[in-house]
Amino acid sequence: MPRRDQWWVVLPVLFGVFFLLPLIGLGWFAITDGDVASELGSSTTWDALRLSVLTATLTLVLAIVLGTPLAYLLASSEAGWARLTATLLDLPLVLPPVVSGIALLTVFGRRGYLGDPLSEAGITLSFTTAAVVLAQLFVAAPYYVRAAYAGFTAMDPRFEGVAYTLGLSRWRTFRSVTLPLVWPALAGGAVLCWARALGELGATLLFAGSLPGRTQTMPLAILSAFESSAGLAGAVSIAVILVAFALLLLVLLHRLSTPSGAYR
């Protein structure tokens, strides 16, 4: 019997149950009705899984390489444009992914504003694996940049100041002072970004299409299976594989992002 003033614990427990039950339901459905074993043996599933992990990881690398300097720049600037840019970066988070896909097409598609110059340079983006990465980057990178921006903003600038007065170079300061301080924020953002990229569906479908082996990631394979005669059972079987795999990688990423694994 919990103490009288601890009644509120009921709320988090209820909330936890709300998230756990559907996952258990999914797993149970796959065990009783689905055929996880045959989906595990299907080359379409493996192609999709490989493509998903490859593209989501590429997306994460790009988000870190391009997003960290951006977040740092925005956080260290007091100017109005910096705050405006930070707000604009949140926009892809609220856009329905399908809209993001159309937005990407209007720029990078064959009829897009950059379509002609790109095709003259011999580059076709839409409906390629590169398009999958761009779609994921557009939708998922803001999660990383957002977290990094919050991390850099919360950091006390005096630490960097002291490092400079001690004669440390800009890069050395960033590496030995700034980075360890904001590491948890960056790692948390990276996990979110990677996870969101792995689950991306709408923007990918619009901008990259769904072709097995080239652009059909796990979520698209699940959608296709859902639409097929194998229907629900097939879709759920693939979904469970994705969930299991994602869980494994999330556990790994979380271990990397905890203080014990932090950059030193």
């Binding site: 409906f127 479908l205 859902f226 639409e227 097929s228 629900l232």
Partner: protein, 257 residues
């Protein structure tokens, strides 16, 4: 303390009301129809006509891919009438014992959608290199039909067309949008999908393949009102509306049961 409890109770009440309102959203007495996305243009007109003769009847229509709808029904979604874009999905539900009665409605032809000023004139043109072709996923009715068509072609041509495919979409509307957006040069869609679109024209596939039959299925527990609606949709009164939308009556194709 007491005031805190009152506030909490109010909050709980609000949440309860919101949930109840959201879950009970107007399903009182209306005929609940699950319809294939390709019926989006024609069904409202058909229902209006039916409502003229049957005053007071109300409808609640949910559109989607026939497969998704069938899956939702399998999972226990409540509906009175299921209008499927092909027979397989309905048969799937029949096997589960969910369908009380069925009636074939109309057929839809497969065509190649291209832009009006496109140089594509015959299906052979799709085998040229650099042509980008959009098709439905093999699991979707329109994709299955396309696959049957390709299989009936000369093998070399079929392979060249398959090599030009850039996407296998889960939904025929998305496939059509590929040509509308200029991302694909050609898309295999139903003739009815081209109705109401601008700047597109249809290229005939030029092969004899069995057309796609739309079927209406009455779900178990649906009442008499719904039976008469299904009879109306399958009957001669509705033929003119179906035809105007590009669907063909069953006897014209000769293939339907």
């Amino acid at each position: 303390m007491a005031r805190g409890r009152v506030r909490l109770a109010t909050l709980a009440l609000l949440v309860g009301v919101a949930v109840a309102a959201a879950s009970g959203c107007g399903s009182d007495g209306a005929v609940r129809i699950f319809a294939a996305s390709s019926l989006q243009e024609v069904l409202p007109e058909l229902l209006d006509r039916y409502a003229e003769a049957n005053e007071g009847v109300e409808f609640e229509v949910q559109y989607g891919g026939s497969q998704s709808l069938a899956a939702q029904l399998e999972l226990g979604a409540e509906a009175d009438l299921f209008l499927s874009a092909n027979e397989q999905q309905l048969e799937r539900l029949e096997e589960e014992g969910l369908i009380a009665r069925r009636a074939p409605l109309v057929v839809n032809r497969l065509v190649i959608a291209v832009e009006s000023d496109s140089s594509i004139a015959v299906i052979e043109d799709l085998g040229t290199s650099d042509v980008r072709v959009a098709v439905g996923a093999p699991a979707v009715p329109v994709g299955a039909l396309t696959e049957r068509l390709l299989a009936s072609l000369e093998a070399g041509l079929a392979d060249r067309i398959r090599a030009n495919v850039i996407t296998e979409d889960p939904n025929v509307r998305i496939t059509l949008s590929r040509v509308e957006l200029g991302e694909a040069d050609a898309a295999f869609v139903y003739s009815t999908d081209l109705r109401g679109t601008e700047g597109l024209r249809a290229v005939e596939v030029g092969a004899e393949i069995e057309p796609n039959v739309y079927v209406g299925g009455l779900l178990e527990d649906a009442d008499a009102e719904v039976t008469s609606l299904l009879e109306f949709l399958a009957g001669h009164e509705a033929v003119a509306i179906w035809s105007r939308a590009g669907f063909e009556p069953l006897n014209a194709s000769g293939g339907a049961r």
